[in-house]
C-alpha cells in the first residue's frame, strides 16, 4: 500500500476492483465503512461476482475475468475526453510532457519491436528523446505530437465505451456511470483510493492491470495524497516482509538485485545502477544504491567482504535466467533436474498452478523437507486419499522429512502489514511437543552444513564458512539480534558527509537510519529500508502509542513503518508547486518557506524547494511515469490482452494468445484448452470464513464452511441441468474436481463480443488434511503460466467445462 489501512477514512471514493476486501480483509474494510459513514464517501465495486463488498457498494458493475485493462484504459480515455484531469499535478508531477522516440508505436495489439520467435520485445524504441546535455526533451505545453500525453491519448482512443462493453461485457451505461463518479476525483479536493488484491495480480498481465490503475490515479492527482493511493491488500500477514527482505530468486533485501551472468564483476554490476537524474536538480535516490549494497555485503560476510575483493561479489550467485521462480523450479523438478526441496510454511501442492504437475514434480525429488506448524497436503503428497489424492504411493521414491515448528502465538518478532507497518509481537504460549522455532531449525541446518565443509572441504565453501554468525548463542539466534542486524550498525565511526568533523554514529552503535549507510565498508545493514526500525532509541517496532493528534489516522508512534517511519509514500505530491496542500482540509505535509513539515515524515529532503525538486524521488525523472519506458516486458502502456484461455479472440489481433511475451514452457502448451472444448470462464476466490488452507484445520472455521462448492449462475444451471446443491464435475485441460453446486444470482452471464459468457466461481480452501471435509481447490484446474513480469500464475481467468455429476451428492 502507498497509504495505510487507517488512512482510508480520508477518502471520498473507494474503488474495489481486483479484490474483495469485505470478505478477504474484513477488519481493514471497516475503514471504508468509516469513510462512507463520516465523510459520505462512495464505494464502487467492479467484479465478475456480486461479492459481499459489492453488496454494500453504492455502485456495482460486472466484468469478464481478465479484461480489466480494457476497462481501465476506457476510464483514462473518458477522463481525457471529458477534461477530468488534475492538470497541475499531471503537468508537474508526471512525465506527460516528455518526448518519446519517433520509432515507438502500437498496432494490432502489439508495441513496436515484437519478435514472435523469441516471444519478446526489442524495447529500444520505448524510450525518451534525450538531448545533447544528457537530459530529456520535454514540451511543457503538451502540444508536441511525440509527448507522452499525446501518445497516451492516441493509445487509449480505441477504448470507447462500445469497445469496453464488447471486450469486458460491462454494459456501457454502467461503465459510464462509474467513469462519471471517478471523474469527480480529478478535483484537487476530492480523492479516490484503489483497493486491489490477487484479483489483479493473478493474471498473465497482472502487473499491467495495476499500472493501468496507477496511471488513472496519477491523472486524477491521487497518488501521495491522504485518502488516495494504490493500495495493494497483501495476502498473508508477512508477504510484505518476505518481499521487502527479498526472499525471491533475484532479490537482495530492500529491493536490490542479485547479479546476472552479464555482470561478471562489481564495476559492471554498478555501472547499470548509476541512476543519474534525467532532469536537472532531481533527487534520484537510487544513486545511493552502492551504500545499501556494500552495507548488505558487510552484513552477510563481515571481514571477508573488502573493497579489494569487490565486497565478496562472487559469494553471490549470478543468474542466467531472469529468475528461478517457483514455476520454473517445478518445471525443472518435473524434468527431473531438482533433487532437494524445502517448504517452510508453504503448501505448494495446493498453492501452485496445475496440481497434477505439482504431484508429478514432487514425486521426482530425492528429498522434500517440510517445516510447518500444521499438517500440509504437500508433506503428504505421496499418501493416497482416493479421488482427493489419487497417487501410487509405492512408486513415489521421494524421502519426506516433516519438521514441526512454532506458530505466531509461540514466537516473537515483527510482521509487516499491508501499510508497511513493522509490528512487533510477543510470545504468549509454549510450543507443542518437540516443535521448534524456524530460526533454530535454520541455525541447525546451517551449523551442520558449515561443519561438513570445515571437515571435508567441497564446492566453493567460502560464502558458507564466512557467513557472519556472531549470535550470543549460535544455535538460537534471537529475534532481537536479528532485528538489530537488519537495521544495521556502524563498523567504524560514521561522520557527516557534508561536515567530516561531525560524528554521526560511533563504531559499534546502531545506525539511526539509512542516511548513515556508507559505501566504504564502514557500515553494515541487512535490509536498508528497515534502517531506523531498531536503532539506539530501541526497538521502534514495539512502540504502542496509539495517539493520533492530527485525527487523520497517521499513528506515527504506533510501531514503525518503512521507510523512515513514513506512513504515506510520495506524500510530497499531496502539496502543490508552492508546497501547499491541494486540499487544505486534509494536510499531511506543507512547505513553511524553509522546510517541509506536517503530520507525516516528508517523502523528500526536508529542505528541497517545492518548485525545484519533484516528488517522485526514487525515479531518475523526479516525476512519475505514465509511460514506463522499457521497464516492463509487455509494454510501456497497458494494452488489452486476453487470458491464455479465453472464450473470445483478442479484438485487436486474432492470432495473439494471452500475453505475447509471457513465458510458457513447452510441456504446458499442450495443456492449454480452447473454448470449443471448455466453454466457461472460471475464476478463483476466497471466503470470509477461511484463510487459504490453514483454517480448514480449525473446528470453528471448518464448521462455518465445511464443504467445497463451485458457484454458478441460475442460467448456467438451467442450461446444464444442474440442480441447486447437486453434485457437479468441473474439468479443464489439466484436471477435474467434484463439488456441490451453489446456484446463485451473484453471478450472471455476460455478453462479450456478441457471445454469451458464463462464469464459474471456485473457492480455494479445501484439501485432504484438516478438520473440514475433503475437497479440491482451483489449482486442480488452473494453467501453468505466469505474469510476463513477475510470474504470478493465472488463477483468475481460465477455461473449464461443467456437468451434473453421476453418483452421490458430495455431502
Amino acid at each position: 500500500m502507498t497509504n495505510s489501512w487507517t488512512d482510508i477514512k480520508n477518502t471520498d471514493l473507494v474503488i474495489v476492483m481486483g479484490g474483495n476486501a469485505a470478505e478477504a480483509h474484513p477488519c481493514g474494510f471497516k475503514w471504508v465503512t468509516e469513510a462512507k459513514h463520516h465523510r459520505g464517501a462512495k464505494l464502487i465495486v467492479v467484479d465478475p461476482r456480486f461479492t459481499r463488498t459489492a453488496s454494500v457498494s453504492d455502485y456495482y458493475a460486472p466484468i469478464r475475468p481478465g479484461t480489466d485493462i480494457a476497462f481501465l484504459m476506457g476510464l483514462i480515455r473518458y477522463m481525457i475526453e471529458n477534461d477530468r484531469v488534475q492538470w497541475e499535478y499531471v503537468k508537474a508531477f508526471t512525465n506527460a510532457s516528455f518526448l518519446v522516440k519517433e520509432e515507438f508505436g502500437w498496432s494490432d495489439g502489439l508495441f513496436t519491436g515484437y519478435d514472435e520467435e523469441k516471444r519478446d520485445y526489442d524495447k529500444s524504441s520505448w524510450d525518451y528523446q534525450i538531448g545533447p546535455d544528457g537530459y530529456m526533451l520535454t514540451d511543457p505545453t503538451l502540444q508536441h505530437p511525440r509527448c507522452v500525453w499525446n501518445l497516451l491519448k492516441a493509445h487509449v482512443d480505441v477504448y470507447t465505451p462500445e469497445m469496453v462493453e464488447r471486450i469486458t461485457g460491462t454494459p456501457q451505461d454502467r461503465f459510464l456511470k462509474i467513469a462519471e463518479m471517478i471523474g469527480e476525483c480529478s478535483s484537487p479536493t476530492k480523492t479516490m483510493t484503489s483497493m486491489y488484491a490477487l484479483g489483479w495480480t493473478q493474471h498473465s498481465k497482472g502487473a499491467q492491470n495495476i499500472r493501468g490503475m496507477a496511471m488513472l490515479q496519477l491523472i486524477l492527482g491521487n497518488i501521495g495524497v491522504p485518502g488516495g493511493g494504490m493500495n495493494a491488500l497483501r495476502g498473508h500477514s508477512n508477504i510484505q516482509g518476505l518481499t521487502d527482505l527479498g526472499l525471491m530468486s533475484n532479490l537482495i533485501p530492500g529491493y536490490l538485485n542479485i547479479p546476472t551472468e552479464k555482470e561478471p564483476d562489481w564495476a559492471t554490476y554498478m555501472k547499470s545502477r548509476a541512476f543519474k537524474p534525467l532532469l536537472p536538480g532531481q533527487t534520484s535516490y537510487w544513486q545511493n544504491y552502492p551504500k545499501f549494497m556494500v552495507s548488505f555485503m558487510k552484513s552477510m560476510w563481515g571481514e571477508a567482504a573488502q573493497k579489494d575483493n569487490d565486497w565478496a561479489y562472487h559469494y553471490l550467485p549470478k543468474l542466467d535466467v531472469p529468475a528461478y521462480d517457483m514455476l520454473r523450479m517445478f518445471e525443472l523438478m518435473d524434468q527431473g533436474r531438482v533433487n532437494l526441496y524445502f517448504c517452510q510454511g508453504f503448501n505448494p501442492l495446493l498453492a501452485l498452478a496445475n496440481r497434477n504437475k505439482n504431484t508429478s514434480a514432487l514425486s521426482k525429488l530425492k528429498m522434500l523437507v517440510v517445516m510447518d506448524p500444521l499438517e500440509t497436503e504437500t508433506a503428504r503428497f505421496w499418501e493416497n486419499h482416493g479421488a482427493y489424492n489419487d497417487v501410487d504411493t509405492a512408486s513415489i521414491q521421494t524421502e519426506v522429512i516433516q519438521l514441526p515448528t512454532s506458530c505466531f502465538a509461540e514466537d516473537e518478532g515483527a510482521l509487516v502489514n499491508s501499510g508497511r507497518w513493522l509490528q512487533w509481537h510477543w510470545k504468549a504460549s509454549d510450543m507443542p511437543g518437540q516443535a521448534k522455532y524456524d530460526t533454530w531449525i535454520m541455525a541447525q541446518i546451517f551449523l551442520r552444513v558449515r561443519e561438513l565443509y570445515r571437515k571435508e572441504g567441497g564446492a566453493f565453501p567460502d560464502p558458507i564458512l564466512n557467513l557472519t554468525w556472531d549470535y550470543a548463542d549460535e544455535h538460537e539466534p534471537s529475534p532481537d539480534e536479528l532485528a538489530r542486524e537488519m537495521n544495521g550498525r556502524a563498523l567504524a565511526d560514521v561522520y557527516d558527509l557534508a561536515d567530516k568533523t561531525k560524528l554521526l554514529t560511533a563504531a559499534g552503535r546502531q545506525v539511526k537510519s539509512f542516511a548513515e549507510l556508507r559505501d566504504d565498508g564502514t557500515t553494515a545493514s541487512g535490509c536498508w529500508i528497515y534502517s531506523g526500525s531498531y536503532n539506539e532509541d530501541g526497538n521502534n517496532m514495539a512502540r504502542r502509542d496509539n495517539s493520533d493528534p492530527s485525527g487523520m489516522g497517521v499513528y506515527s508512534n504506533w510501531t514503525w513503518s518503512w521507510p523512515l517511519n513514513r506512513r504515506t509514500l510520495y506524500n510530497r505530491a499531496s502539496a502543490d508547486l508552492q508546497g501547499q496542500p491541494w486540499d487544505p482540509s486534509r494536510p499531511i505535509i506543507a512547505w513553511n518557506g524553509e522546510r517541509w513539515e506536517g503530520n507525516d515524515i516528508p517523502d523528500i529532503s526536508p529542505t528541497a524547494k517545492p518548485g525545484e525538486v519533484m516528488p517522485f524521488i526514487m525515479n531518475q525523472e523526479g516525476v512519475s511515469r505514465l509511460f514506463s519506458r522499457g521497464m516492463m516486458r509487455d509494454g510501456p502502456f497497458p494494452t488489452h490482452m486476453e487470458p491464455f484461455e479465453s472464450p473470445v479472440q483478442n479484438v485487436f489481433n486474432d492470432r495473439m494468445r494471452g500475453n505475447p511475451v509471457a513465458r510458457v514452457f513447452a510441456s504446458d502448451v499442450e495443456k492449454m484448452g480452447t473454448s470449443d472444448e471448455f466453454p466457461f470462464v472460471a475464476t478463483s476466490y476466497r471466503l470470509t470464513e477461511h484463510f487459504h488452507y490453514w483454517t480448514k484445520h480449525n473446528k470453528v472455521n471448518a464448521t462455518l464452511q465445511p464443504e467445497f462448492f463451485v458457484e454458478i449462475s441460475e442460467q448456467l444451471a438451467a442450461e446444464k441441468g444442474i440442480e441447486r446443491g447437486g453434485r457437479v464435475r468441473v474439468w479443464s485441460k489439466r484436471g477435474e474436481v467434484w463439488a456441490k453446486a451453489l446456484v446463485t444470482k451473484r453471478i450472471k452471464p455476460m455478453i462479450c463480443d456478441g457471445k454469451t459468457v458464463h462464469v464459474v466461481g471456485i473457492p480455494l480452501h479445501w484439501g485432504f488434511v484438516g478438520a473440514a471435509k475433503k475437497g479440491w481447490g482451483p489449482n486442480s484446474l488452473t494453467p501453468f503460466v505466469g505474469d510476463a513480469n513477475i510470474e504470478t500464475p493465472e488463477f483468475k481467468a481460465f477455461l473449464v467445462n461443467i456437468e451434473p455429476a453421476v453418483g452421490e451428492a458430495v455431502s
Binding site: 509405492a394 524421502e399 532485528a483
Partner: protein
C-alpha cells in the same frame, strides 16, 4: 511484553473485596479473614495476557492472547480476542481471527519430526538429530555434485539450481532474514516465497 500485571492483581483483590464487603454488611464482619481464604481465585488470575497480531491476512489485527499453564507447566492458549487499543482493528476480529485459538490448538499441529521413507505409505518418527543430520548430508552432497562455479565462458556464476527453497508467508522478518542468510550463502537460486502466488 505482557500487559502490566496489576490488572490481574486488581481483579484478585477486587474479587476478595466484594466477598468480604458483602459478608460484612450481613453482620459477619469477624468471619472476614476466614472467608477470604475460601474465595476461589478468578481463572484470569492464572492467565497471562500477551500482545500479538493475527497471522492470517495483511490487515494484521491486534490481538490479546490469554494463556495458562497446563498440568505440565507449559503455557497453553485459552482465549484470543481483539486488541481494543490497536488502531487498525480497534478490538474487532473477523471470523478467521476470532477462531485463532483453534489454529494454535489444532489436532493437526505437528509435534515431532517425522520421516516418510521412499516408497513407504506412512510417516514414522525420527529424532531431531537424525533428521537434521540427514538434511545437512543431503545438502552437502547435492551442492558438491551440482554447484556450478563458472559458466561456459569462464565467468564465475557460483549458483546451485538442483536444490530449491520456498519460504513462508507468515513467519517473522527475523526468521525471514536468517533464512535469507542461510539460503543465499549456499548459492541457492531456486528461492521463492508465497508472494509469488
Amino acid at each position: 511484553m505482557n500487559i502490566d500485571l496489576s490488572r490481574r492483581g486488581f481483579l484478585k483483590l477486587a474479587g476478595a473485596g466484594v466477598a468480604a464487603t458483602s459478608l460484612g454488611a450481613m453482620g459477619f464482619g469477624k468471619a472476614e479473614a476466614a472467608e477470604l481464604a475460601h474465595v476461589r481465585d478468578f481463572k484470569l488470575a492464572q492467565t497471562t495476557e500477551t500482545r500479538n497480531t493475527c497471522p492470517y491476512c495483511s490487515v494484521a489485527c491486534g490481538i490479546i492472547i490469554y494463556a495458562r499453564p497446563d498440568d505440565t507447566g507449559a503455557r497453553r492458549v485459552v482465549h484470543i480476542e481483539g486488541d481494543a487499543d490497536h488502531p487498525t482493528n480497534r478490538g474487532t476480529l473477523c471470523p478467521k481471527g476470532a477462531a485463532l485459538k483453534d489454529f494454535v490448538n489444532a489436532e493437526t499441529r505437528l509435534t515431532e519430526p517425522m520421516v516418510r521413507r521412499p516408497g513407504s505409505d506412512r510417516f514414522e518418527p525420527i529424532s531431531w538429530d537424525e533428521a537434521l543430520d540427514r538434511i545437512a548430508r543431503a545438502i552437502k552432497d547435492d551442492r558438491d555434485a551440482n554447484f556450478l562455479a563458472t559458466n561456459e565462458l569462464g565467468v564465475p556464476v557460483n549458483r546451485w539450481t538442483t536444490t530449491g527453497f520456498l519460504a513462508a508467508s507468515a513467519t517473522t522478518n527475523e526468521t525471514a532474514w536468517l533464512t535469507y542468510k542461510v539460503v543465499r550463502s549456499m548459492g541457492i537460486v531456486g528461492f521463492d516465497n508465497q508472494a509469488r502466488v
